[in-house]
Symmetry: D2
């Protein structure tokens, strides 16, 4: 492939720009996964992950994508025909529900507006009505990557406790973990799903489950078949520092490094950085005269901003131009949003000048495609960044 | 961790020593898995894999370990309660059978001798008796990593055709693929299982299935729940150059490089190299006065040699000494062979001098632990290597 | 050192941002510099360098900095007490003259204005007066890295030919080679000096001399002592593909890769890219209301722009703030320009969005330090970039 | 280039096998050599080097090969026409003397036997005779890389003190530093010369001088022209953590890492390891029935063993066969030893199994070329290694 000068801007909501430290850490000879050095690695990455999840119970690591972890959450805890309640939040919440249906579960999807956060009130009603406890699990997405809308998972956990409903709370935190505050224990989540290629700054290839004691207990009664995803086998090996089958060792080297980087920066600083860069992004978008797909200010994601393209040019043509001419990858609209939005990933190993380059790349796209815009976007972002330094 | 001088000898039967070219290929910025560059990558690795499998039908790549691919083979093709026939070949054949049982299948295990290859004659009898076609699949291991015994998969395929039995033939080629001749189509295999960290010279983290048309058709009737492992979704995305969920992009970069390396060397040269280095290993072992666990010469693996330790010193103490003092990892006995054998991996990115270092490391272990041996092993190996140059 | 999120912007006029391809190429096992593989490497890098220099005569590579190559140019061709003519162009032209004096030469420095290009007319007068041919060499800087002023080297060569003066023309092209058009042969240059860490996109550590036949002949009569820098020994080894002493092998791996990248892009595209990014930079600077140190539009460098800071805040305080708060390194004023200017490097592996990030980083610096500026700079740059796409 | 399976054995007496940790350290973005981070790097590498040299005075680092540092030693301290005394030790001692002559010095070479260490007694006589103190410097090689003979530098220093002669003692420690004990201060050395690509485990490209106070003082009176090599400029910048011209930053990253590795292992352990691996090599050579070029046991180098080839096959044909067939680079005979010896490098990042592979590679060469040998070499080495574990 011919050389394209300069650095590619990978401004997807994941995979994110993998920092050199992580790539170097992965560029290391593989070691014996049954040897005496391995438990130190296992111990460090699991402890680090638990810190990021905000849990004192268990965190498991699989060689898998995030969608594998959706499956892992379900097969470990549920049985064929079990009913689960879910929210209509966007493309990925729909994907998870499809997967659940494929796995033989009965999914009750509560209506929702993709431009809004989930409605914990409706959930509470549904749970209150379910006096037989037919619903075995509630599936929620913390940060819907396809829409840029963040939901209040604490409120979901509260609805379950208020109604004293025994369903397990399962949460997709794929595009929030490591970038936005997440509190598995405090929010009473039973299973959290995440992956390596977003806030954890790794290439794709590792999936994570944080698992409450209650969820682990449910695994004893679950009858969905499960072997690869089996938490209990995983736990019994992990406790000695090993894995029940060959783990993705070099990805674990990368994870160890990225967890060290998060610790060096400090999680609260990491979250504040994401919030500030996201706000700068939003200010640029609005100053340009564009709408964010997420309607309400307090529901807008700190990791991804979806922007509506309402003129004649489709968001996909726009993205293609930005990629071809300015060497930047933006996210596209998924499912029914195809062509209507583009998504800016502003997460992971990211800073002010990378964001500035990203925003300028978008404006350059507007300019070369004659998309109408007000040229106040960049200054709005810079002004905010300078004020909040 | 303190510096241990010099290169570690990772002489497991996998993970193997990852060549620098592969590590460097992985040490590259992640790209957009939905972008226009991706189909070239997808196309090249799938075409390359099909060549190594010896198939013109399909090959699928999952972010998974090899054992995940065992599961993928089963859930795509079978239904709860289906009967499968399997051979008692060693620790990994047993592992696959356990997994099948966990997935809700009924496993009929034909008795076997771990020191010997599978017996295709017994299979033929079993299949002939099964006039109702109760057995839906036959599970066989090509190269049992735990014993160093290679079986004749062509003969297994022939038994199915001789008896005109419709069961699917599923073969674990985890530790043979890319190192020993394997012919998915010619041997009439329906599903072949493999992984990245052996002959394909990658770190662990990718799993592969080669899938015959017949197996793909079976996927339409299978009722075992399956989403992550779903071949049909995989195929429909792969056909356009993409994946149904985020693939392990940087591992695919490594796979592209390792497939190029195999092509540069030429597969027949790769197999001849493994055969020659394996024979040198066997000559050393026997000249030292040790027994290979694999009883018959023509069944001995070209990728791993298991050596019986019969004196007072356990194989695990021996391995620990070799690791601590000479910085080499050897494989141990698994399951009921624990402590009785050590296994020498001689596969992947491997050459004469690496083998010589490996064999000398073993002899040094004998010497420092006062294990009785005849000091003719190294010369036997070198003499063979020189003659066959 | 604690993790600083995101990528550092290394916007010096060198070292420049080393592309991943070059870093990976260097991250390769060292090979035998006297072995049979080496001549291919030597041949490829020397041929590639000659292309970039625009010469059919010789190009030599030393493990050295650029200033070492100043010394190499002098000691190979001159004798103690020789007179040389030089221009007062800036910090680096002064540095070279100091070095020449240290080496025992007599330097006649023609007066110059650092904000302007060299004056070939004055040179012509000096040469015309020198009927005895006392001047043995003329030293000129093509692109003065300290001021951002580019001079017309063709005009210098012409002055020598017009006056039929036998002095050798020696040119420093450290910060122009590989980024701006340079024609060693066509411009009648005798020795061109350059280094690895600017347009050639390598880390520092290699120095280059392009050498005309005339200069090589002069080496026979030169009596300045010289061994390490000896071109003739270098040439006699290079002709066989080797080096007279151990070369910096892994740096040569990087050089091979960077020369391939320049060839892939095409040198004329490389120069056009630098010109365009430089013009965008200049438009931003002027739209902000700042002065470029280089007074005349047609003398402004395409690799580095020096900006005058005229208020209360020194350029060095400004740079320190930009580094501390926005993780970008800018060049400072050198020598008598210390504190008065900052220099923006816009060369090497560089593209529109990296430039945009760079310019935004400067504006953020203005904002947080309350440096007065007009907020039209970024839009001026983007507008130009969009128009010229 | 087509893939050659397995790792290359680079068993030259330099460059040596660069460890992954060092290559990774170099594979890091270049930083601003005038920025605030740089002094930490400068300080750490200079302090570390001083420890390895055994000096409390100065150590300087140049972007250069080892032969550049020969030149640096001379031009900093001497004046045209100065007389220097030198030993006839081998190819590199001759090279240094040629260089000194080229630089305008008058070299008095004391006769020597290349198979023997230098004779400090003859030196003492020469110095005693030199009552006028005509000799300004004594040049000695600690470990002659071309012959594998190590000399007693302490005895040389003593000869100077015994005769109360003011000449500077300059020592080439290129292939001993970091592998064999060296004591710049204790042995009263004035200038020690070394480079990066041997015991310091880096690629070539950095040169070092350790400099006594007396030598630094001599620099004030020296009239050999010198700019690039100027210690005093170097010292004045180094004292603030910087360099007088752009240093080879990424090589310094590698040096920092290799110095950390030496410290982790402990210098005395490093030396003991080299001595032990060297002794094993010598035992193999003698048990094979070959002669070491170094005649006396106590003068044999711990970093390189030169082996005499006395039959019909030249050492160069032998080396070429070993390279072509077994992927190992050995050193050849240099100058008048061309074709008569091969040299085994056993230094740097090296351990028992790498040595075993190396020795087996040599024996394989003997076997395929029908070089007569006794097959007791490998066992002799292994037996020694096991006994001394």
């Amino acid at each position: 492939m011919a050389y394209k000068p300069g650095r590619h801007f990978l401004q997807l909501p994941g995979p994110t720009n993998v920092p050199d430290r992580v790539l170097r850490a992965m560029d290391t000879p593989t070691i014996d996964h049954r040897g005496p050095e391995f438990p130190d690695l296992t111990g460090e990455v699991i402890a680090g992950l638990k810190g990021v999840f905000g849990t004192k119970s268990d965190a498991f690591i699989f060689p898998a994508s995030g969608s594998g972890m959706w499956e892992a959450a379900l097969v470990n805890t549920l049985s064929p025909g079990d009913a689960v309640l879910a929210f209509d939040q966007g493309f990925f919440s729909a994907g998870w529900q499809n997967l659940a249906t494929k796995m033989g579960l009965v999914v009750h999807s509560m209506p929702g507006d993709w431009r809004r956060a989930l409605n914990a009130g409706i959930l509470e009603e549904k749970l209150a009505e379910d006096t037989e406890h037919a619903y075995k699990a509630v599936l929620a997405v913390h940060n819907e990557t396809s829409t840029g809308v963040t939901s209040d998972i604490g409120a979901v956990g509260k609805a379950l406790r208020t109604t004293d409903h025994p369903a397990l709370l399962m949460v997709d935190a794929v595009s929030s973990l490591g970038s936005m505050d997440f509190q598995h224990d405090e929010w009473h989540v039973d299973v959290t799903i995440s992956g390596s290629q977003k806030g954890l700054m790794l290439p794709p290839g590792l999936g994570f489950n944080a698992v409450s004691e209650k969820a682990l207990k449910a695994a004893s009664d679950s009858t969905l078949p499960s072997a690869y995803w089996d938490w209990r086998a995983m736990k019994s090996f992990n406790d000695d520092g090993f894995f029940p089958y060959t783990p993705a060792t070099n990805m674990l080297f990368g994870l160890r490094e990225s967890l060290r980087m998060l610790r060096e920066e400090g999680l609260s600083n990491v979250y504040a950085r994401h919030a500030r860069l996201a706000e700068a992004t939003r200010r640029a978008v609005e100053a340009w005269g564009f709408q964010l797909y997420a309607e309400r200010a307090n529901e807008r994601s700190d990791t991804v901003s979806a922007v509506l393209m309402q003129g004649e040019i489709t968001a996909d043509d726009f993205r293609r131009t930005v990629l071809d001419r300015f060497n930047m990858s933006l996210g596209g609209g998924l499912g029914r949003l195809r062509g209507q939005i583009f998504r800016i990933g502003h997460l992971g190993d990211f800073n002010e000048l990378m964001l500035a380059g990203t925003l300028c790349g978008i404006e350059l796209g507007f300019r070369v495609m004659d998309v109408p815009f007000r040229d106040a976007g960049i200054e709005a972002a810079l002004s905010y960044l300078a004020e909040t330094q």
